[in-house]
């Protein structure tokens, strides 16, 4: 149901949210998210074009989130790479239906609306703050290095 592009974009943004406000390099993101670099570069370009990340070249450069993790929702990331398309009008183009969806398309759109609402109500900061034994992207040696050389918390 979720494309690989959506999955990869979310992983990259989760990584950057952990790093925020610091930048991450493509190498670091690729390593932590297990996304192949060429694919990752395309995903990051896409996220850049849609205002989710910005890139800075040179020493000390890298990729950063445009918004703070407190203000960035899952939905914004999903919509940046593959907009969650609601069913706004009858897919058959039936004139008598129009925006008045039939029960079939209404059920399908209701499911999409619920997903949209769930993703809109969750920020990246909330994801990272959630008490869990499975911290996003964290698996011992693959854990990205922290600011100030802090040891990662035990998850």
């Amino acid at each position: 149901m979720f494309s690989q592009t959506v999955e990869y974009a979310l992983r990259a943004v989760v990584f950057l949210a952990e790093r925020a406000p610091d930048a991450g390099t493509t190498d670091e993101i690729s390593l932590a998210t297990q996304v192949p670099k060429p694919y990752l570069s395309k995903v990051l370009q896409n996220l850049g074009r849609n205002g989710i990340v910005r890139s800075q070249r040179g020493i000390g450069g890298g990729v950063t989130l445009v918004k703070s993790p407190q203000d960035l929702t899952i939905l914004e990331v999903v919509n940046a790479v593959e907009p969650l398309q609601r069913i706004a009008v009858c897919p058959l183009g039936l004139k008598s239906h129009g925006k008045n969806l039939c029960p079939l398309h209404k059920r399908m759109d209701d499911a999409l609306a619920a997903m949209e609402a769930s993703f809109r109500s969750t920020t990246l900061a909330e994801l990272l703050a959630e008490p869990t034994s499975s911290h996003p992207l964290c698996d011992g040696p693959k854990l990205p290095s922290r600011k100030n050389g802090d040891a990662p918390a035990v998850h």
Copy 2:
């Protein structure tokens, strides 16, 4: 979010549910559902392989639903053509996660679970019985002919 194959399969099954227990020909289904015949044939083959419809050749033949509309759910139709894939284990293959999803994948799977539950709880008969001004597939001249020559109800 929903592929064209899923959309087309659901339209075809809605048509056949209206016809049930009578059969519909591919020409009739194609006309009513606005699905091109070659694509429709593939979708019907897929639905046939997965036990949703059966086909009978010859005079009086056609395509019928295997189950009654009262017993057939939207989820069964979706899963027959493009299984709704839940996130069962960590997509990154992190050993420390396994079936214990991180908050990101938990949110994504929760959304899929809600969709699955909604589709599992809705039968084709319920869709067709729902009071609405937009009856599935119905738009005047495209309405499939009814059994016994009944005039279609005014929707």
